[in-house]
Amino acid sequence: MEILHFLALGFDTALSVNNLFYCLVGVFLGTAIGVLPGLGPVATIAMLLPATFSLPPISSLIMLAGIYYGAQYGGSTTAILVNLPGESSSVVTAIDGYQMARQGHAGKALATAALGSFFAGSVATVLLALFAPPLAELALKFGPAEYFSLMVLGLVASVVLAHGSLLRAIGMIILGLLLGIVGTDVNSGTPRYTFDLPQLADGINFVVVAMGMFGLGEIIANLEHEETRTVTVKKIQGLLPSKDDLKRIVAPVLRGTTLGSMLGILPGGGAMLSSFAAYSIEKKISKNSANFGKGAIEGVAAPESANNAGAQTSFIPMLTLGIPSNPVMALMIGAMIIQGIQPGPAVMTEQPALFWGIIASMWIGNFFLVVLNLPMIGLWVRMIMVPYHFLFPGILVFCSIGVFSLNNSEFDVFMMALFGLFGYICSKLEMEAAPMLLGFIIGPMMEEYLRRALLLSRSDPMVFLQRPISATMLILSALALAVVLLPSLRKKREEAFEE
């Protein structure tokens, strides 16, 4: 089987001493930031990007991927122990996980979360290995028209699945696309929207945007509800679930994994949506549904498997099509471009070691997480106790140094401050930063594909509807928008998000 051959190549790459080390660093850092509330994977990855530029591409991507799925593990630890979800994807885990901890079953809840995540992560890795190659093969046949329509579909789907005002989310996407265009136009050499500033000739750096909006903006917002947090953690005992517990979590883990894997692939999906959906479905169909909210082990198993599965399958569109499905994937694409790799279906055929190495590293990383995290729970507990008022100045220092070191220029630091300011205003107006970042990364590619598609068709816009794949994607986009705009369905969508 060809796949086995490629997987062997992947494990060969991922098991090199260097890559194992960066995988370990990635999942360790990921868990740490998952534990620390107020610091998410987007800001962390943006912060660490400058440090990875000197690494070989494969090592840097392995590490960055580790941060993302490692954060899912860390986030659930704090959710269970102290009812503080470190990540948005573990908000629902806190509901039953914390109740379990209060009843003295913290160890069991943690183990359930870890085992569920490990199982889901392993399944998602296999799915990635199975589905990525045919998808990439299909994508190799795409022309510029198909790519343009695919990007439209990706962006539309990302707002349909987002919560909050649809109009504002679309506005943010377009704003992101526009900001992505700033800089010298590749075709004509005209500097666009640079205000004659030489620092803008190469465009705005995506690290600056991500750190400003997700790092600074969130810090300013967090400072508003700075609470007096006194964290007390009971001694944790009884890590291993009993046979009876294992029996109870099998079905929820399977359901969570299935749902998470599917939602992760969708643009705009990923870990958070998966965990929310898995929890609400599990609550409806579980035999034990009466106990939900009062410490049901199923209420931990399902969302925890789902968020990890979702985190990993969201790599599928990124690796095969070069389309980001969430802000973390957008940063990964940015990282690839900086490393000189053009994201897209060609990555798999031209750089098989990179592609399969990342996939294999995910399984290894998940294994690390289970083996390391349960014994290291004491360290994470101590990290939870780091008070936010000492934490955030440190985050600011790392962000500032990271941004300065991009081009050794204070201009980027000022730009980050500007985006921080803008990010804060956006959070007050409930304008979401995530769609803007997606648009920002996709902007230049989208323009290029539009340009090429219309050049090839001799300026006939019908080309997007005459090519079947392209037309299908545009029709799907239109349907998705129509579905959200229909008043009756809109109400249901709002209800679904409120749950």
Partner: protein, 153 residues
């Protein structure tokens, strides 16, 4: 806030979109438009800018019709302190050097916290500075001055 604005979030996000959209179109006027088949540098941004301005306008109109949540209070003090601290870091970097830039950044941004106390924060600031100098300048070899040009170094 005038009473005819029923949805301030819609209103202000509409204003922001409208400004950015119009700016993109107006500034884009200076670049060559080209045609659909041979797009000039102005083509795509002008299209996007018009769309954004349209969305802004719709949002504005909607803000007079549909009720919505009021905007939460702006924490002006925190906002200014944090952004000013970051900007100062950039300004001090070359002149004063990394050591002082970090201490200023930590102290000024830390002042935004309700738990600010001079001594513990000073300890954190100095600790951060030493750590960063060891890791970034000495360890990773980033070209940043520990003490800047103002010290005649």
């Amino acid at each position: 806030m005038p009473s005819f604005i029923r949805n301030p979030q819609d209103f202000w996000s509409g204003v922001i979109f409208l400004i950015f959209g119009l700016a993109a179109v107006i500034i884009g006027n200076d670049y060559a438009m080209g045609s659909a088949g041979r797009m000039g540098p102005a083509y795509f941004p002008t299209a996007l800018g018009s769309l954004l301005a349209l969305i802004g306008a719709v949002s504005l109109v909607r803000s007079f019709i549909r009720h919505g949540e009021p905007i939460g209070k702006f924490a002006i003090k925190n906002l200014l302190l944090v952004t000013a601290a970051v900007v100062l870091f950039g300004l001090l970097m070359r002149g004063a050097g990394l050591l002082i830039a970090i201490i200023v950044l930590v102290m000024l941004s830390g002042y935004a916290s309700i738990k600010f106390k001079v001594l513990p924060f000073l300890a954190v600031a100095v600790g951060m500075a030493v750590f960063c100098i060891l890791v970034f300048v000495i360890g990773l070899g980033l070209p940043m001055p520990i003490l800047g040009s103002w010290f005649g170094l």
